[in-house]
């Protein structure tokens, strides 16, 4: 077997899933940290600085490419695995009592992932496309050209729509559940299962999923209801 063998093997595919998943998790942390800057209550000044740094630093830009590769790998691999898994049970059961042996969200990673993907498309269209591929976003309040808006203002505008807020909140709920299973699952995939440390990993995963997703969800809510100025 060669390395291609590894990547083709069921375990290899899972390792890619786990690696990209964990990578996305680190991205979530960075992303969340930057976005938290909106809560400075300074009309988005600090946040805009952060956004500018993220948008111009070459390392971050490079990472952005890696990030996209990561997401795509994660999604492609998810698709491959899901299709293979379907094939492994051609005749379905008449009656399934899954709740007796596993959590519903661990059995629904594909569905949760798809919801996240749908959200990602909307989300990227809202902000990333606008800031990268149009001239619509100004770096800060002082340099903005006619017709331009800062990212902060853009967010305030987008989140005026309650439907958008709802979509974001639902997406974050999906992400919570995706990570409730995914976080600890990735460690298991890498073979890190230990009687002493796994409970810690599991607790960390739960805390992480809930905290990160709550923070993310709090942003559109706060903006919508005007808690952020």
């Amino acid at each position: 077997m060669s390395n291609a063998g590894f990547l083709k093997s069921s375990i290899g595919k899972k390792v890619i899933m786990g690696a990209t998943g964990l990578f996305l998790i680190t991205f979530l942390m960075v992303h969340c940290f930057i976005n938290m800057l909106i809560f400075f209550q300074d009309g988005g000044e600090t946040f805009n600085k952060g956004a500018e740094f993220m948008g111009t630093n070459w390392l971050i830009r490079a990472m952005e490419i890696v990030l996209f590769v990561g997401i795509i790998l994660h999604i492609v691999q998810a698709l491959v695995l899901t299709l293979e898994n379907r094939k492994a049970r051609p005749v379905p059961y008449e009656k399934i009592n899954g709740a007796a042996n596993s959590s519903w969200y661990s059995r629904s990673m594909g569905l949760l992932g798809t919801l996240i993907l749908m959200f990602l498309i909307i989300h990227l269209k809202h902000f990333w496309v606008v800031s990268r591929f149009t001239d619509h976003i100004a770096h800060n309040e002082y340099e903005k050209l006619p017709g331009q808006e800062t990212l902060f203002k853009e967010m305030m505008e987008v989140f005026e729509n309650p439907m958008v807020v709802l979509v974001y909140v639902l997406a974050m709920i999906s992400l919570t559940y995706h990570l409730l299973h995914g976080f600890q699952s990735a460690f298991q995939t890498f073979g890190l299962n230990h009687r002493k440390y796994t409970p810690i990993i599991k607790k960390t995963g739960i805390a992480f999923s809930i905290i990160i997703c709550t923070l993310f969800a709090s942003m559109p809510i706060a903006m919508h209801f005007g808690f952020v100025k």
Partner: protein
Amino acid sequence: MGGTTGKNINVTVKVWRQRNKNEKGSFETHDMKGVSTDMSFLEMFDVLNERLITEGKDPVAFDHDCREGICGMCSMYINGRPHGPKNAVTTCQLHMRSFNDGDTIVVEPWRSAAFPVVKDLVVDRAAFDRVIAAGGFVSVNTGNAKDANNILIPKPEADEAFNAAACIGCGACVAACKNGSAMLFVSAKVSQLALLPQGKIEAEKRVLDMVHQMDVEGFGNCTNTGACEAECPKSISLENIARMNREYVFASANEKK
């Protein structure tokens, strides 16, 4: 009766019937009246079959042998769970006192592409044998062994190897998994032998070969849902899957080719 709880209940059994691998199957419903709660689940099927035979009908085929939870032959998917509603028991150890009067019990065969149906509730699990043949052994010929106590094995490792070796090869893990993955079964053997000094020597080749065979057989991929561990009649631990993942990654990295 020697038993003890001695009640009688009525249940309805909805059971999968399929003549052979190639024909399509369907469900058949039977009313079972006055079933003693001291009966085992399989004895309830014995009674049903006895009735079918005297009525001139074809009895329900199901696999079983030891009827004491060790051979791994029995394999019924009962009311949505492999080996039925009780944890850590095989179908043959399940008793009718685990059911209530008036219950409808749906009984299906293990469903997996790698376990084709032979007849009714009987499936072909030869895929497991082939996985073992691919590497689930220590390569030692008879007569080559040195004195047993020349190999010292720390008790914790010996116990852990034993726990992994307790797998009875029933396939409930595959049946329970939403992906039809055989990781728990394969990892139990990989772990047992990787934990022992006798097996370490060829551990890398073993894990590569066994996982390869597992994939060839058409089992699904693992999502770490833990359903296998929860349904395993011998409570084989997920730690074994982690160990196999680890072994596999290192073995792949080390592979010279």
